[in-house]
């Protein structure tokens, strides 16, 4: 067990290390001088001397004059201090605090969407595997949803329910006329702004899980242990119960594999709804060429995904009894 988790932690640690290093490397090895482009893009209409002064300032600020290895070390030091630099477009606010103010919104979308879609999707898929009429409905719907790009479903949901039917607001995290407060009105506004991005995220994933589970169940129902139970006259209830339990396992692993995709989906969904999460921040960073913010978001997202992966790994060990046995070395 320890070896299994040790291994996983090693991979995650290595991944984060590599990702952070790539993150650090890229601006330094891309064509052109990032500081020059930074200054020229800011376009303050400075004189040549003024621009040069700014360039020198930035170079000193980012330690770009120092030897490479020293820069690298400083990078890690500040990283461990939670210092991701300062956002350029948001005029000097620390990147960390900018990201942290957006994180709750993103998590509020992600966590319920992932958990609910996974749970409901699996159960629907299992049901569909049993009843032909449900199967004929679930299958095409599932395929359509899972093939839909996240942002497009978001657009359609926004258009139909927000624009045409006018039930939900299309943009923002809460009503623009409100101030954040712990009132019912504000919470209601939060919820109504949350609903459409949530449902959009939910639907795409739901389709995937439902189809996946359906296929897994069919596969398990055809397995030797299912046939054996059938040959011994076990009622279909027992067979289905076993099949479900066994089919869930790869779905758990699948969740870990999907996390990257789901997070990407959340980001683009937020953009469509101007929802004040990381996605919106990301778009702003790209459009304003705020590299610090961009890099900060990147590291943050990677870190988050790695943590989530680890949680899923823990969940898997809990769910699959074989892992505990096989890994503890078994007993004589």
């Amino acid at each position: 067990m320890r070896r299994y988790f040790g291994r996983k932690l090693l991979v995650y640690g290595l991944t984060f290390f590599i990702a952070a290093t790539i993150d650090w490397l890229i601006p330094r090895f891309m064509p052109g001088d990032p500081v020059q482009s930074l200054v020229s893009r800011q376009g303050f209409g400075l004189s040549a001397a003024g621009s040069q002064a700014l360039v020198d300032y930035y170079n000193r600020l980012f330690g770009l004059g120092r030897p490479i290895w020293e820069q690298y070390l400083n990078f890690w030091v500040s990283l461990l201090h939670g210092d991701l630099g300062r956002s350029v477009y948001l005029t000097g606010r620390p990147v960390t605090s900018v990201i942290m103010s957006a994180v709750p919104y993103t998590l509020a979308l992600l966590i319920p969407a992932i958990l609910l879609s996974w749970w409901l999707g699996n159960n629907f898929g299992a049901l569909a595997a049993r009843r032909k009429w449900l199967d004929n409905v679930v299958l095409p719907i599932g395929y359509i949803f899972t093939a839909t790009p996240y942002m497009w479903l978001a657009i359609i949901v926004a258009w139909v329910f927000g624009f045409i039917l006018n039930i939900f607001p299309i943009s923002g995290g809460y009503s623009y006329s409100m101030e954040p407060s712990l009132t019912l009105g504000f919470l209601g506004s939060l919820l109504s702004h949350w609903f459409m991005p949530f449902i959009s995220l939910f639907l795409v994933q739901f389709g995937g899980w439902a189809i996946g589970m359906r296929n897994m169940i069919i596969y398990e129902l055809d397995a030797d242990y299912s046939r054996y139970l059938g040959a011994l006259g076990a009622p279909s209830g027992l067979v289905r119960r076993y099949a479900f339990r066994n089919a869930v396992l790869p779905q758990v692993t699948g969740l870990a594999l999907q996390l990257g995709v789901i997070v990407s989906g959340a980001l683009v969904t937020e953009i469509v709804f101007s929802y004040p999460g990381i996605g919106k921040l990301l778009l702003a960073a790209i459009q304003n060429e705020d590299f610090f913010l961009l890099q900060g978001i990147f590291l943050f997202v990677i870190g988050g995904v790695l943590i989530a992966n680890f949680l899923v790994d823990i969940a898997y060990v809990l769910v699959d009894p074989r892992t505990r046995v096989g890994m503890s070395g078994g007993t004589a």
């Binding site: 242990y225 046939r227 040959a231 011994l232 006259g233």
Partner: protein, 317 residues
């Protein structure tokens, strides 16, 4: 009579038509009898064994009846058949080594299975453990997951589980095929012991390896291309087989002590006919050294030539 099968026909549905895998088999098995059922791959012996317990997948019951202890077996009614499965008719499947749910402790699975039969695990546990020890496993196997057992151990466990409710009829489907010779012997002896101790009343042992059957079965039945070729007590079958196919089979077995220079092993040239469109007359005639004109026109009936010894061959009768 423990088991009586009359003109059983079970076909496989395929896109190209019906494969007549089992095309009219009639036989009877007495209480306490171990019948060996042998033949080449595709002769229908596995289909026979499986159709007695569960007609699944592409199989379809086309005709014929099965009676067990005087009661007709509803082999094509899945729900009705459930009453008989496990308690009256049981099977040690060919896939025994993967027949246990990989994510369930073995004891738990047995408990849940018994519960569906209205048997409390607590009541059955003592006997279960006794039998587990009998087959050479240790009691704590009940607390293990299948992944912790070797293939042979899993198979033995399945043997115990399948016979736990003391069925009238046990079908052993190719259970020695994946084993080495000494394991084969051990398993074969276990089967006999099950019968001797009264765990099962009668048994059908399906295999393509005739030499095993020689050791343990009371009677031997040989099938070819979906039909029975010959059936007789084992001694009789080995010493004076009448059907040309049986005789070729027996003579293709090596004998210990006989050297190759003295007596060559003979195989049987040719291959079995297609069961999609079986030929008229006797299905063995293309490979039979004794075939005559009549064999191509009329199918030889399966008749008794001496007590307990039946053959389907024009030349043998």
């Amino acid at each position: 009579m423990s088991l009586q099968v009359t003109d059983l026909r079970v076909y496989y549905r395929t896109l190209a038509g019906d494969v007549k895998a089992l095309d009219g088999v009639t036989l009877g098995i007495a209480d306490g009898e171990i019948m060996g059922l042998a033949g080449e791959s595709g002769c229908g012996k596995s289909t026979f064994g499986n159709s007695l317990i569960r007609i699944e997948g592409r199989m379809k019951h086309v005709g014929g009846t099965v009676t067990l202890d005087g009661v007709p077996l509803p082999i094509d009614d899945q729900r009705e058949m459930d009453h008989f499965r496990f308690a009256e008719v049981s099977i040690i499947p060919q896939y025994a080594m993967s027949a246990l749910n990989p994510t369930r402790k073995i004891g738990k699975m047995v408990a849940e299975l018994l519960a569906t039969r209205g048997v409390r695990y607590r009541d059955a546990r003592e006997e279960l453990e006794r039998r587990i020890v009998l087959v050479g496993l240790s009691r704590d196997v009940l607390d293990r997951y299948p992944i912790e057992l070797s293939g042979g151990m899993k198979q033995r466990m399945v043997m115990v589980v399948s016979t736990l409710l003391d069925p009238s009829l046990l079908i052993a489907d190719e259970i020695t095929s994946a084993l080495d010779v000494s394991s084969q012997r051990a398993v074969a002896q276990t089967l006999v012991e099950f019968r001797d101790r009264g765990f099962v009343k009668s048994m059908i042992v399906v295999t393509h390896d005739v030499s095993i059957l020689y050791q343990i079965s009371n009677t031997l039945a040989i099938m070819y291309a979906g039909k029975l070729a010959e059936k007789a007590p084992t001694e009789v079958m080995m010493s004076r087989p009448r059907h040309p196919y049986t005789r070729l089979l027996i003579s293709s077995l090596p004998e210990i002590g006989v050297r190759f220079e003295e007596q060559r092993l003979s195989g049987i040239p040719g291959t079995p006919p297609s069961l999609l469109n079986p030929p008229t007359g006797c299905r063995f005639r293309d490979r039979c050294p004794l075939a005559i004109a009549k064999c191509a026109e009329e199918e030889p009936p399966f008749v008794e030539i001496e007590p307990g010894h039946s053959v389907a061959c024009w030349m043998a009768t």
